[in-house]
Symmetry: C2
Subunit: 145 residues, 2 copies
């Protein structure tokens, strides 16, 4: 997909205004270190609108989920799609630059994990994320609580 610089900047503005960037560290004993690391970039719009059709035409990947509360989410969750999207928009981001850099770092670190210590680094990165997103129901996750 070839996007012009203006289209990339447009998507950066869209993400800064409306998007969420986060990584869930879900407890899951079927994973080697007891956690599943699930990264997301999500946009939100009223389900009454069909705005995401236009955004999808630009982006060309991701999927849509209609919530019961009338909000539709546009979710980019696959690792390669996220990395692709980060490359497209990161030069133009203003507000969520930090979040996107940490997300990139987490995805990179994930490939390099060899032991619990490495994995602990990822969990700490996930925590620093939640500080930036000023979540109320923040959970500090660690391998050695």
């Amino acid at each position: 997909m070839k996007l012009s610089l203006q289209q990339r900047a447009y998507l950066a503005g869209f993400l800064d205004a409306d998007g969420s960037i986060y990584v869930q560290a879900k407890k899951n004993q079927t994973y080697k270190f007891g956690y599943q690391i699930a990264p997301y970039i999500v946009f939100y719009q009223s389900s009454k609108s069909n705005l995401f059709q236009e955004v999808y035409k630009l982006i060309g990947f991701g999927h849509v989920r209609m919530r019961k509360d009338g909000v539709t989410e546009y979710i980019i969750g696959k690792k390669e799609d996220i990395l692709n999207f980060i490359d497209i928009i990161s030069p133009y981001l203003i507000l969520k630059k930090k979040q996107i850099m940490i997300l990139k770092q987490i995805l990179k670190q994930k490939e390099l994990v060899k032991n619990e210590e490495d994995f602990e680094t990822i969990l700490q990165l996930c925590n620093s994320f939640q500080d930036l997103n000023y979540s109320k129901k923040r959970k500090i996750r660690t391998l050695c609580p």
Copy 2:
């Protein structure tokens, strides 16, 4: 203020994702035709964030209002600022192109109003607006109900 094409496109994306464009026709008998026509472009963010500082650095006009419910509004309400902003972003808008064109038309028509019929045209434009914004508490306004 000089903005690059990418900065303009970024602001268009921001507006498409997060912004509201609307015109209030408020009953007010001190006005010649019984209504005050008040146009707005508004952005919304959590009051916990200071994201609007960055947006203000780019735009250079507008004002901020902190609501009691934890939402901060960034409001562009002055006619000349609105027209200025429309010029900056309209080439890059995707989702809210129609709304912005109607807003521009309303501001233009307002200058040309000579009689009740002209004013009725403006009220009809305000109504068409609300259809686009799929407001639930939609009020059809007219001079001759």
